[in-house]
Every structure is written in structure tokens, then in C-alpha cells.
């Protein structure tokens, strides 16, 4: 136990008071005026700071771009100023390398890649350690993903302690939605040494947030608030030094380890703070039991009841899913993920192992894509340690690893990775001797896994045991053994358990009966993480019912919610001769944007028509009609897209058929589309994509803010003959022009069309585009002209 330590107050406002101009870089100002910075540090030290933050908040490569000093120089200089102040004061004061956000939002909110953020922070922390910083402090972060990149950079490239303080709203979320509990669990998992809050609010407003944080972490807590709230009109803060200190005294009651001030606080604040908090013991409840769970940045799933793990993000036995992975069609995978979340999954298992696919790269890609559209946490499913690490590395939260088994070789390979990223882990209750046949053998394996996990520094609650579902039609006696093992692992070892439930009924008719019955018995035995298909109503009904009977669903609230609202959608029934689907019917359904009906029409047609015939004779003519109506302004854009959506439900079915036949997909040619470098507006581009896809073109969507090199490389690699570029900003038109120029250098016959709000025919001609598309529909004509 040590006493609470005092940090410093604001640097920026002190620099401004000392003559720094608005818009000037504090690091550049500090470089030019090292004595000013040193004197500010000295004032804080004299006021009582035990730890001072060097003037390096914005000393990153992004913010210093175009400045006269580079990152290394800025950090060297700032740390030197701080150290000189410490030397002059002759006190025992530590110097922290202070790191703020880069100033660009990370994907998917912005365009900065996680890996690039890591590199930017790496440069800073390496310099910080080199020039003698004692601690690395990340502060004022609002995006957990951003600070994760920083923490990894610090942990992997330095030996210094790493602290993190984030900036919250009174709602208990950051501007990007990060929850306090997610911050706590994720960062503690990554091995951060102290966490807390700074900026945005005053001590009074942060207090309830700090109490919440305390429930979720055993780490030392840092509190560095603003001097109250700012006057909206002038930007001045409303607390005086003495009031600030009084409010900070409230924190004594539950114990924090570090206290200081942020915006609006000055040395007098620190002086008052010191006298108010001096000799307060820092309570760091290492032994205290705190809450934990599996989480994304925005959602925490506590493991204190049955939690549904969705199984559908898995290519095994699914041709269409395999094809999507091999073609990097992340949209397809994301759609499956969204469906699972909407069906009530709490956690999503994600497996990308497919013959011919690069599992490591695919895991990275898929985790990034899926976490950008679902809130629920992920379970990284692979036996390849590199793929596991790739997934965990880019995962913004605390994931489960599925899985390791009781073989020591495997444990030694996987557990260090699990520990490094602070994940939970599933241990399969089998070892090198193969599948166990009794419950006791399974429990013994579980025990071994637990022991080894504890050796590696994992906690007991991080270990989940898979008691192995075997197929009851083949090994009938094993069902009982599995259930008994679940009971023993739950009761005797006190661990969470998981099962791939549906495997039980393989090979039997009417599988759902067996699966559901087994699921219910297993939950009764203690199974709390069933891996199931949440889209199967019966499965979810069984789980909702079980939660009522087990008492988990208090007052049956969730059960009632699920079943009280009976869906009353009326199905459109189309009457026709002999139940035959006519061209008129297809067209009518598409025109009205009726997805389900279009899907059913296609299904019916597939009974006695070829896939290509349906596309060319039914779907495309219908889409042409819709396009004509759009051109004549009879319908407008949303209706055009609704029609395209309806048609795509039929296309998806046809694609699936073709994939299952093992044939390659029909394609009238490849088209690359993207939003150009610097621009992030992509709805227009996505609309064009959806519409063109329905005409049978294979769309290669490079996304938004796309590097010119990426476009050019794709054109060459895929031998693409048509590229569509989108831009919505006058500021990004030059990037469009440049992209066209670069395409010309590598291809004589690749045509380029451009579109987007600020474009005109004149601009398009000027930048050398082959075509200009004033709207989404005209892209179809362009594609037909170029590719047929």
C-alpha cells in the first residue's frame, strides 16, 4: 500500500497563458520555448505533483506532419524539459510520456487503419522510453479501439508501465459508445497498469462513473477531471481551486490511486488538491472480486446465466459461405452476423477456415468487418494459433478463444496468446489419447486445462470447458456421459461450459426434436454457453423457456416480450394459372420491392428453368422496366433501390444454387467500384453496386478512402475492364483525377466512369473519365456499353 499520488494539471491552457497562439502546436511551441515548459512543470512540482506529464500529448506523426520538428525531436525535447524541471526541484518526481488520440478516427468510424494507428503510437513510445520517460500515459481517448492500438504498441515495444484514462459523458459512455465496463475488462486484460478518467467532466460528474469503474477492475484508478463544466459562451470553467479540491475529496471514500486535473486546472488547483488528499491511502483492492465478462466496446455480456453463442459464421459444409470467404465478400458474412444478432445471439462464434483460404488474413478481415456491424462480442474459432492471434489482435473488446484441448503442446501454444490479449478460452475436454468415453475422463481433462491456465496467469472464470457433444445415432451411450460431465464441471470445478449442441442429432430424421431435448437437458446440467443456430425458432424458444424455469428470466419479462407480440404480417398471395410464375408476376413483385415474393418466385422458377435463363429472361427485363420508370421519374431513387433489393434476394438464391452445384458463379464481367482517397461518402457507391450486381456483374468493392495503388493493383491483378469512382467532395476530386491517371498507366482498355454529388459532365471530361454517371441507373447503361 502506498499513499495516493498527485498528478499535474492542464498544460495547454498554461502554454496559452504564456503566449502560445491558438492553432499553434504545443510541441512546437515547447521546442521553441523550453524554459516556458520547464517553468510550468516546476510550478506543478512545487504545488505538489508527484508525477508530471511531459508536453507530448499531440507529438504524433499525424499531428506533426508539416511541422518543423519530427516525433523523435518533439518527444526528446519535451521529456528533457520535464526532466530539467524535476532536477531543478530536487524532488522525487516521475515523468510520464503523455499521449493523446492521433486526431483521426479509426475504422470503421473513420478511415485510419488499426495497424497504422499502432505504428504511429509505436514511434512515440519507443522515443519516450529512449529519452527516459518513467510511465506511458494514454489520455483523453474516446475510442477503445484507438487506445488498444496504443496499449499494444507500448506493451510490445517498451518495458514501461502503461496507464490509460478515457473521456466519458455522464451517460457512462464515450462519444463513440465505449462502455465503462468494456474499457475496464478489455484494458485490464491487455495488462494495463492503471486506468481511469480524464477531461470532459468535473469531479462531481465523474464520481458516479468512477464508482462504476471500481466494480469492474482491480487496477489502480486515476482521476484527472476538468475544473468543472465550461461556460458555453466563453469556454471558461466554473470551479475554483478550493471547490475543485473539496469535490475531489469525495474520492477518498472508495480509494483511488492517482489524482490530478485536466482542462481549466492550474498549479493552484494542484496545491489545494494536495492539501486535501495528502496522506490518503491508495486502496487498490487486488483481492477484491470484481465483475467480468465477454465484451465488445459497446456491449458487455456477463457470464451469469445461459448465453447464446451463434454458430453460423462458419464455412463448414456451406458452399456459399466458403465462396464468400474466398472472394472476400465480407458483406455476405456481415449479413449472417446481423441476422444472428437480431435473432437473439449473445456472442458470435467466428470461424473462417476454408480450403484454399489464408485463414490468418481472413480472420483479421472477418473480425474487423463483423465487429463494425454487430455490437455483441465475438468468439474466435480456430485451431491455428496465428489465426487466433490475428483475430484477437484486431478485436475491439474481450473475446473468447475457441479452442484449446488438454494436450500440453497445444496448451503451451495457445494459452500465452489468450493471456496476452486477456481473452477467455474454451478448453475441449480431450487430449492426445483421443475422445474420452466417460464423464470422469472429461472432467480430468478439464481439470488439467484449468491448472495449466492458472499457471499461465489466467483466472478461473476465464476458462470454459467444452464437454464434447458426440452424435447420438452413432454413440448412444455418450449423450449421458456428456451431460454428466457438464454437471460435474459446473458443480465440482465451478467452470463455465459450452457445447456444440446440434451435433447430437446428426444422422437422425427430424433432428430438431433431439437437438432441442438435448439442449434443455444440458442447460439443466449446467451448460451456460450453448453454441447453436439462433435462427432456429425452436432452439431459441427452448432457451427462453428454460430461463423462465431456472429463474434467470425474472418475472418472465423476456419470455413475455418474445411471445406477447404475435407477428401479424399478411402474406401477399399471387393467384395465377396453374400456380405458374409469369414474367409479369416477377416484374410486379420486383417493382413493388417485395423481397419475399421475389425470392419465392425465383424458387418456383428454379424447378423447371435454368439459373441463367431466370436471370436473363425474368430478372434483368424486370429491372430494365424499373430503370425506365426511374428515368421517366415515375418512381424515384428509394423505389429503384427497393426493387434492386427485391431482385437481389432472387440472385442470392441463384448464387447459392450455383455454388452448391460446384460451378463458378455467372458473371458478365468484373467491375471495380470505390470511393476515392480522402472521401468517405459511400452510400451512392453502394447503391450503384447493388444495382449492378443484379445485372450479373461481379462487383469488386474496394470500399471508401481507397488508396490509388489499391485501385491500380486490383485493375492489374483481376484484369478489370471497368472501374467506377465516386466522390462527394470538391476536396476529393483531385484524388479522383489522379486515380484515373494512374489507371491509364497500367491499362489501355480499362474504362473509367465517375459519379457523385459534386461531379458534372464537364468535371468528368476534364479529369479524363470515359463516362459520367449522373445517377445510379445510368451506371447500368455504362456497364452494358463496356462489358455487354
Amino acid at each position: 500500500m502506498h499513499n495516493l499520488l498527485i498528478l499535474d494539471g492542464a498544460m495547454g491552457t498554461m502554454l496559452q497563458a504564456a503566449g502560445m497562439k491558438a492553432g499553434e502546436h504545443p510541441e512546437v511551441f515547447g521546442f521553441d520555448n523550453p524554459d516556458i515548459v520547464k517553468n510550468i512543470h516546476l510550478k506543478y512540482i512545487e504545488a505538489g505533483s508527484n508525477i508530471i506529464y511531459a508536453n507530448t500529448f499531440g507529438a504524433n506523426a499525424h499531428k506533426l506532419e508539416g511541422c518543423k520538428i519530427d516525433v523523435d525531436t518533439a518527444i526528446k525535447n519535451a521529456i528533457q524539459s520535464a526532466k530539467e524541471a524535476v532536477a531543478e526541484s530536487k524532488r522525487d518526481v516521475k515523468v510520464a510520456l503523455d499521449i493523446g488520440p492521433i486526431g483521426e478516427l479509426l475504422e470503421p468510424l473513420g478511415v485510419l487503419r488499426f495497424e497504422d494507428a499502432y505504428d504511429i503510437y509505436k514511434e512515440m513510445v519507443v522515443a519516450g522510453e529512449k529519452y527516459g520517460a518513467d510511465i506511458i500515459v494514454y489520455e483523453t481517448f474516446t475510442d477503445l479501439y484507438d487506445v488498444r492500438a496504443g496499449v499494444l504498441a507500448a506493451k510490445e515495444n517498451t518495458k514501461l508501465p502503461v496507464w490509460v484514462t478515457m473521456t466519458y459523458e455522464t451517460t457512462g459512455r464515450t462519444f463513440t459508445g465505449t462502455k465503462i465496463e468494456s474499457m475496464a475488462v478489455t484494458l485490464e486484460g491487455l495488462g494495463v497498469d492503471a486506468i481511469g478518467f480524464n477531461c470532459s467532466l468535473g469531479p462531481k460528474e465523474i464520481l458516479p462513473l468512477a464508482r462504476k469503474l471500481k466494480e469492474w477492475t482491480t487496477l489502480p484508478i486515476i482521476i484527472k477531471p476538468n475544473a468543472g463544466l465550461p461556460n458555453p459562451s466563453t469556454g471558461e470553467y466554473d470551479l475554483h481551486a478550493a471547490d475543485f479540491a473539496k469535490l475531489m475529496a469525495e474520492y477518498k471514500s472508495f480509494g483511488i490511486s492517482y489524482a490530478g486535473g485536466c482542462c481549466g486546472t492550474a498549479p493552484d488547483f494542484i496545491k489545494e488538491l494536495k492539501s486535501e488528499l495528502d496522506a490518503t491511502e491508495a486502496k487498490e483492492g487486488k483481492s477484491v472480486k470484481v465483475k467480468t465478462g465477454i465484451c465488445s466496446a459497446n456491449e458487455m455480456v456477463e457470464l451469469n446465466g445461459v448465453r447464446v453463442v451463434g454458430e453460423r459464421l462458419n464455412p463448414t459444409g456451406k458452399k456459399r459461405f466458403q465462396e464468400a470467404l474466398l472472394n472476400h465478400e465480407m458483406e455476405y458474412i456481415c449479413k449472417v452476423a446481423i441476422e444472428e444478432e437480431e435473432s437473439g445471439a449473445d456472442i458470435l462464434d467466428i470461424n473462417v477456415g476454408v480450403p484454399g483460404g489464408d485463414e490468418v488474413a481472413l480472420m483479421r478481415e472477418a473480425v474487423k468487418a463483423v465487429q463494425s456491424v454487430v455490437n455483441i462480442p465475438l468468439q474466435i474459432d480456430s485451431s491455428n494459433p496465428e489465426a487466433i492471434e490475428a483475430g484477437l489482435r484486431v478485436y475491439n473488446g474481450r473475446a473468447i478463444v475457441n479452442s484449446v484441448n488438454a494436450e500440453d503442446d497445444r496448451l503451451d501454444l495457445i494459452l500465452p496468446i489468450v493471456k496476452k490479449y486477456g481473452a477467455a478460452v474454451i478448453g475441449l475436454a480431450l487430449n492426445e489419447n483421443g475422445l474420452p468415453t466417460t464423464a470422469q475422463e472429461r472432467v480430468d481433462n478439464a481439470k488439467h486445462i484449468l491448472d495449466r491456465a492458472l499457471e499461465y496467469g489466467l483466472k478461473k472464470e476465464d476458462v470454459i470447458i467444452d464437454c464434447l457433444t458426440l452424435t447420438v445415432s452413432a454413440q448412444q451411450d455418450q449423450a449421458r456421459e456428456t451431460l454428466e460431465a457438464v454437471r460435474m464441471v459446473t458443480n465440482d470445478l465451478g467452470l463455465h461450459t459450452t457445447l456444440g449442441v446440434s451435433n447430437i442429432s446428426f444422422g437422425l430424421p427430424a433432428r430438431s426434436h433431439i437437438t432441442e431435448n438435448f439442449l434443455i437437458q444440458a442447460m439443466y446440467a449446467g451448460l451456460d454457453l450453448p453454441i447453436v443456430n439462433p435462427n432456429i425458432e425452436g432452439i431459441m424458444n427452448a432457451i427462453y423457456s428454460y430461463k423462465v424455469l431456472s429463474g434467470e428470466d425474472k418475472d418472465s419479462v423476456k419470455y413475455i416480450e418474445r411471445f406477447a407480440t404475435v407477428k401479424t404480417e399478411t402474406k401477399v398471395v399471387t393467384v395465377s394459372n396453374n400456380g405458374e410464375v409469369t414474367k409479369e408476376m416477377v416484374e410486379d413483385a420486383i417493382l413493388k420491392g417485395l423481397k419475399e415474393e421475389t425470392y419465392n418466385n425465383a424458387k418456383k422458377l428454379l424447378e423447371d428453368h435454368g439459373e441463367l435463363e431466370i436471370i436473363n429472361e425474368y430478372l434483368i427485363p424486370a429491372l430494365d422496366t424499373v430503370g425506365d420508370l426511374y428515368e421517366k421519374q415515375v418512381i424515384f431513387l428509394p423505389q429503384l433501390i427497393n426493387a434492386a433489393n427485391a431482385a437481389s434476394s432472387a440472385f442470392e438464391l441463384i448464387k447459392e444454387r450455383i455454388a452448391n452445384k460446384g460451378e463458378h458463379n455467372v458473371s458478365k464481367g468484373k467491375i471495380v467500384v470505390c470511393t476515392v482517397k480522402g472521401d468517405i461518402h459511400d452510400i451512392g457507391k453502394n447503391i450503384v453496386k447493388v444495382i449492378l450486381e443484379n445485372y450479373g456483374y461481379r462487383m469488386i468493392d474496394l470500399g471508401r478512402d481507397v488508396d490509388i495503388k489499391n485501385v491500380v493493383d486490383t485493375v492489374v491483378r483481376e484484369n478489370v475492364k471497368l472501374v467506377g469512382l465516386s466522390a462527394l467532395m470538391t476536396t476529393t476530386l483531385p484524388a479522383m483525377k489522379k486515380t484515373i491517371e494512374e489507371i491509364r498507366k497500367v491499362s489501355d482498355d480499362c474504362k473509367v466512369w465517375v459519379g457523385g454529388a459534386v461531379l458534372t459532365k464537364e468535371y468528368a471530361d476534364e479529369m479524363g473519365a470515359d463516362f459520367y454517371a449522373p445517377d445510379a441507373r445510368s451506371s447500368v447503361d455504362i456497364a452494358k456499353t463496356v462489358l455487354g
Binding site: 463513440t176 459562451s233 458483406e331 456491424v373 468517405i680 458534372t760
Partner: protein, 227 residues
Amino acid sequence: MFNIDVKLTKEDESEVLRYLQHNGKDIDENLHAQVLECMEKINAVAKPNFVFREWDLEENGKFPKELDFFVGNSIKKHIKDCHKLILMAATIGIGVDNAIRKEELKNVANALIMDSCGSTLIEAVCDSIEASFREQYLKENNYLTFRFSPGYGDLPITIQKQFVDVVNATRRIGVNVSDSGIMLPRKSVTAIIGVSDQKLETLKKTCAGCNLLKSCRYRKIGVRCYA
């Protein structure tokens, strides 16, 4: 004083359709329902927030030094008879971006409509803020210009970053600016309002004053981006 808890209602439908470049023809029931549904989706995730600061103009009507990034003739003309400036930044939050991104995968038509709903909502929030300022200043017999934003007239969009910095909008309300001047969350607005003790005449936006005059997607179909 400021009511920013603004929600989209049925009355906003025509505005949403206008952003979709609808030409005023009747729309069918399905589309009505779709628009209302999208409004609700945006209402559910929007978190309006704003920040502002006020500055006195210098004696000669020039910008104070801190605001010297306001360049060009349009803004000069806009605040010609003013003695004071209100700089504001408003947003409806990153939740809207997330919801639209997700919807793009499920249903691009909905995503497009939701995007328009977001635009409508942020403007409504700004209208509400502006109305409060107007009311408050009228008590002192002061009058306000309309909201003037970077990108309008010859005021370059590239000042967006400095604008956001000077009102501290990144820390205070979570508004970020990309290198190409795009604000994130996407449905965010920065605007400058002039305060004058004279009744102002040029209070309306005009197409002629806009630098998108030649390429405007609204004008192409005969409508305007403002009511």
C-alpha cells in the same frame, strides 16, 4: 434555454424526401411507411449535442485574431453589419453513422432514407438552436444572420478543422474532422451566425451565393437544398 432534444415527426417527411431529390409526385403507402420507419430508426439512435462560443468582432468589423482562418468575400459580406459572432458546432452523434452503416448491408434503400433523415434531423437541431439564439438576442434588440457554414459561398471547407478546434468540439461533443474536411460523426454541422443591432435584410440563403451552383444535385431536378 436551448432545446436540442429534437425528434423527427411525420411533418418532416417532405423534408426527408427533398433530400432524396424527390420531385413532388405522389408516393405510395409502402414508401410512406418506409420513410416513417427510417425516421424512427434515426430517432432511436440520435444523440443531439452542441457547443458554441461567442466572439466580439474588432472595431473595424474584422475578425479577432483567433478567427483569422475565416477567409473569402462571402463571409465578410455575410457579417457586414455585425458586431458579434456566434460559432456553433452541432451533431446527432456517431450512433447515427453506425446505424446507417449497418443498414447499408441490410437494405440500401433504408440506409439512403436514413441518411436523409439524419440530414433533416441535424438541420432541425440547428434550427432549434438558432431560434433560441434569435429569441435571446431579440430581447436586447439584436438581430441574427442565417447560419453560414464552411463550403458555402467562397468560404472553403478546408477551414473545418480550425473551426472545430476553436470551439473545442472534439473534446466537448466528439466531432472530428478528416484531412479532407469531412466531419465525423457525419451528421454534424459547424456554422457561424452574425449578431447585429440593425435589422438585417440579406437573411436568406440563395443558390447564387453557393459554390455548388454549377454542380448542384438539387438544381438538376429543379429543387433547392433549402426551404
